[in-house]
Symmetry: C2
Subunit: 223 residues, 2 copies
């Protein structure tokens, strides 16, 4: 960071800019006392489905995976999910809360760097979300792996961003809170900053983030 | 099952024939009150590491992944893991308990079918384990994905088994307790039987097992 060759900062969306567990409130409203449990299993399965569908060579878009993982979570937890409740929960994904510091941090960063998003989500998920929070002016590109049908952390997903941004891989600083995403981006050759929001330890898969920060304000301090 | 074209029954090992959580006892002995927590995080991360290393295109063998995921689990849980304790826990993977019905069920099945194992584990993990429990006479092949360096549930892993067994994919009945493994094998074109040991619901990734059983005795009843 602060290296003069950082030209573009690329952000992961879910878990990094937006709190996927902000759906707990809606889950809790619909299914009292079960909100957190549903939200956690939903997220765990959402990721697992993306990885497994990628590995078996049968990519399915993230909106479909998000629906199927919600259905699994409710079925597994013995919660009857009515059609209108399902719609409501899926709609809440389009208004997920950004982490507290995110809007101001993006505003400041956008003055000095080109900013972009690379997400496993589909464009019909990420565009409304970014627009809902009036964050779209800060980003030059909203990029979805759906365009190449290869999920992060596969090299093809990061290569797609590189191709779209038309720069060298060293020019990119990639930010994510998801350790598997940092592992993939780092393995691909991006500079990486891990936003360790949950204060956990990093994975042991042979890759390390170049920088560790706890929220985006720290990024501002460093760059 | 009972279809006359089943020639070979191929078993997954970890979670299907052998209980990975039989390490809890050893964990508990070394780290009182923390056994279950360590064992669960260890297994979760072991699978995650295998999938992610596969997706990023940096295969690492399962014995190394098993060591690294144990180290992660202990570090994350704030448990200081001494070198001799690590060795002891990794050694316990070579003597994991088979599920109760497994030895007798294999004995009966081996009279009527060719049996084989296809595992994500390395041969230096699976051979000693099978031999320790005197199960080796029942299997014609112990196959590790390490030979092709592509983890299950990737098509290449199942293709390797098919190649080794020199039969058609419809000739194979593949058994696993791991839903992602059934999803991969079914997607590849094997007949599948899901051993639903934990009585959970099946995943929603567009694939379904051909058969659902709760332990291997039920397999005998059906074939």
């Amino acid at each position: 960071m602060g290296k003069k060759n950082v030209k573009v900062i690329v952000f992961d969306a879910y878990g990094t800019l937006f709190d996927v567990h902000s759906v707990i409130q809606k889950c809790e409203e619909l299914f009292p006392t079960r909100g957190q449990q549903i939200s956690e299993l939903w997220r765990t399965k959402q990721l697992e489905y993306a990885f497994i569908q990628h590995i078996i060579g049968r990519y399915r878009p993230f909106d479909e995976i998000t629906k199927n993982s919600l259905r699994f979570a409710c079925e597994q937890l013995g919660v009857a999910l009515a059609e209108n409740q399902e719609k409501e929960l899926l709609r809440s994904y389009l208004t997920l809360s950004p982490y507290e510091e995110v809007p101001n941090a993006l505003k400041k960063l956008a003055n000095r760097y080109q900013l972009a998003i690379l997400t496993n989500g589909t464009l019909n998920m990420i565009q409304p979300l970014v627009e809902y929070h009036h964050l779209n002016p800060y980003f030059s590109e909203l990029m979805s792996v759906d365009d190449v049908k290869q999920y992060k952390p596969s090299p093809a997903a990061y290569a797609y961003a590189l191709d779209r941004l038309q720069c060298e891989r060293e020019d990119i600083l990639f930010l994510s809170s998801n350790t598997w995403d940092i592992t993939g981006a780092s393995s691909f050759g991006f500079q990486t900053a891990w936003v360790n929001r949950k204060k956990v330890v990093f994975d042991r898969m042979g890759q390390q983030p170049d920088h560790i920060i706890y929220n985006l304000n720290e990024l501002i301090r460093i760059v």
